[in-house]
């Protein structure tokens, strides 16, 4: 195939202990480390491996978000993406609108494969890939732990509750990545320097003419309920009795 599109969302780093703001308007993000959403990093790694095997010519990284997301894309370029596109907006953007933006880019770029993380670790929505596949009228293979390309089709192993499911999908298609698909490479300093010369196009979201979608509004945030301290039992018999009382064994 010629092109692979990869989505890179800028999200609060995996290791940050997220706290809810006192006024309930959101979570604290001031001074908080931001990174590529880990699932998206895996998606990019997979695209790079496909290209390195000679099965694709170009990997294009796309982010939809604020100006700061350029840093996220630069990291993606340093990992090995050939070029990047930032669809810039300072407003919150919902999954359906994200899918519509991706579809517009698909119409311009005609990729053979779109690789997205299965979910972002901030909103935990797990929607954009599936929505994009629906709007595009193409196959989806979500939660991928293995991708094998065979010309016009791909075999994708998916991590499902029952175990590992394999589906065959005609290309082009949307594949969303799970954690065990690969281990992303580390970025080396010379690659960061090289990435500065790669093309990063910034396009305002308003230029895309995306229809506004009915938005789910976020009324307030709160910390999760704390667990109450429980009771100590004296022995295994006491434990089993307590579990039986709760209908758990």
């Amino acid at each position: 195939m010629d092109k692979i599109l990869v989505g890179l969302k800028r999200a609060v780093d995996y290791n940050v202990r997220v706290r809810v703001k006192k006024d309930g308007s959101g979570v604290e993000t001031d001074g908080v480390k931001m990174s590529i959403n880990p699932f998206d990093e895996i998606a990019l790694e997979e695209a790079l491996r496909i290209k390195e095997r000679g099965e694709a010519n170009e990997v294009i990284a796309i982010s939809i978000g604020p100006t700061d997301a350029q840093q996220t894309l630069r990291t993606g370029l340093a990992m090995g993406a050939d070029r990047a596109i930032l669809v810039q907006t300072d407003d919150p953007i919902d999954p359906l609108s994200r899918a519509r933006v991706f579809l517009e880019i698909i119409n311009r770029e005609n990729p053979g494969l779109v690789l997205l993380g299965k979910q972002a670790i901030d909103d935990d929505n797990n929607q954009t890939g599936q929505m994009l596949a629906a709007l595009w009228g193409r196959p989806q293979a979500t939660f991928a732990s293995r991708i094998e390309l065979n010309g016009e089709a791909a075999r994708v192993t998916r991590e499902v509750d029952a175990g590992l499911e394999t589906v065959e999908i005609d290309l082009p298609a949307v594949v969303t990545t799970d954690l065990r698909l690969n281990e992303p490479r580390y970025v080396k300093l010379p690659d960061i320097m090289k990435a500065k010369k790669k093309t990063l196009d910034v396009m305002p979201l308003t230029e895309f003419g995306i229809a506004s979608s009915p938005t789910i509004s976020e009324a307030c945030f709160e910390p999760p309920a704390a667990r109450q301290k429980g009771v100590m039992v004296d022995d295994v018999a006491g434990l089993i009795t307590a579990l039986r009382d709760r209908g758990l064994v």
């Binding site: 359906l96 499902v160 029952a162 709160e222 667990r227 434990l239």
Partner: protein
């Protein structure tokens, strides 16, 4: 009237327990009928199980050879066609529902509410974000269908004393052939999947070795439980990394979580704080795991686990 459609999850033979939890969530909405849709190649037995769920108005069956395997691209257009008569379309927040429901939502032109954990009003719901470190109250737009997944761990299954009517529906939509089921491999054991198991037994570094982990597996098998591990146990090489529970591993919410020889580092607790009942067995009575455990037992883990397993 504002009716609710619940999409049944099944394996072609039996209804998945997640469906009864979706019906429980639907029952919390002050709306009209709750109907369950069974899309299958042969829906009869599954529909009969769904018809017994308390609170269900009727069961709709959509039979088509293409529905033999669960493929979102195949099911979504059929569900979108059914959804015309409904104000709400719910599916479980399992890999089945997570794969399928956003595709349905996009076809209906709406965003999805992922992982409903409580219903606060006809269009007001709570859901977890940031791996459960924050809970957000969301408002779905009025005048549009509400497509949602229901966080299974937040609901108890409804009872099965009902006898709802079963109606067959013919749906004429184009069903794509671009996505084909090849196979499903269910792990080498019959153990439930860690992330969706109703019960999970986990072992920590105190288990001491890979061989010793057999006692955890034996207890889990008696309970019909999935098996997890702390990061310390994974780092020590006792079990593979896909079994890791916690901030850098899997975030789980089983009805019953049994932590054995796990001290309860904050990173581990993040992964289990939504469990229904947490049991801790540890010889150190100062272990932080006891701060969050509903039931705690200070004991030698090898003796206690053996006794526990024998008693079941």
């Amino acid at each position: 009237m504002e009716n609710i459609l619940v999409i049944a999850e099944h394996d072609g033979i039996h209804l998945n327990p997640s469906t009864a939890k979706c019906v429980a969530c639907a029952s919390a909405i002050d709306a009209g009928n709750i109907d369950v849709a069974v899309l299958a190649s042969s829906a009869g037995a599954i529909a009969a199980e769904a018809a017994r769920l308390d609170g269900v108005g009727k069961v709709l069956t959509v039979e088509n050879a293409a529905n033999e395997h669960v493929l979102a691209a195949v099911l979504a257009p059929q569900i979108a066609a059914l959804a015309d008569d409904y104000a709400y379309v719910f599916g479980p927040s399992t890999t089945f529902g997570k794969d399928l429901m956003p595709r349905v939502a996009a076809l209906l032109g709406v965003n999805q509410i992922s992982d409903i954990m409580s219903v606060d009003g006809p269009h007001t719901f709570k859901r977890p974000v940031y791996a459960g470190n924050a809970i957000v109250t969301v408002e779905a737009p009025v005048g549009y269908p509400v497509v949602a997944t229901v966080r299974s761990a937040s609901y108890k299954a409804v009872g099965d004393g009902n006898s709802a009517a079963i109606e067959s529906r013919d749906i004429t939509v184009d069903i794509p052939t671009h996505t084909r089921f090849i196979e499903v491999q269910t792990g080498s054991s019959d153990r439930p999947d860690l992330q969706t198991a109703a019960k999970v037994v986990s072992g920590g570094r105190a288990i001491g070795s890979s061989d010793n982990f057999d006692i955890i597996f034996a207890l889990a098998d008696k309970l019909g439980a999935g098996v997890g591990a702390s990061r310390a146990a994974v780092d020590a090489g006792y079990v593979p990394n896909e079994m890791q529970v916690g901030q850098t591993g899997k975030i789980i919410a089983p009805d019953l979580y049994i932590a054995i020889g796990i001290s309860g580092a904050i990173q581990h607790l993040t992964g289990i704080k939504d469990a229904g009942t947490i049991v801790a067995i540890n010889k150190d009575e100062e272990a932080p795991i006891f701060e969050v455990a509903d039931l705690g037992l200070v004991a030698d883990l090898f003796k206690a686990v053996q006794e526990f397993t024998d008693a079941l």
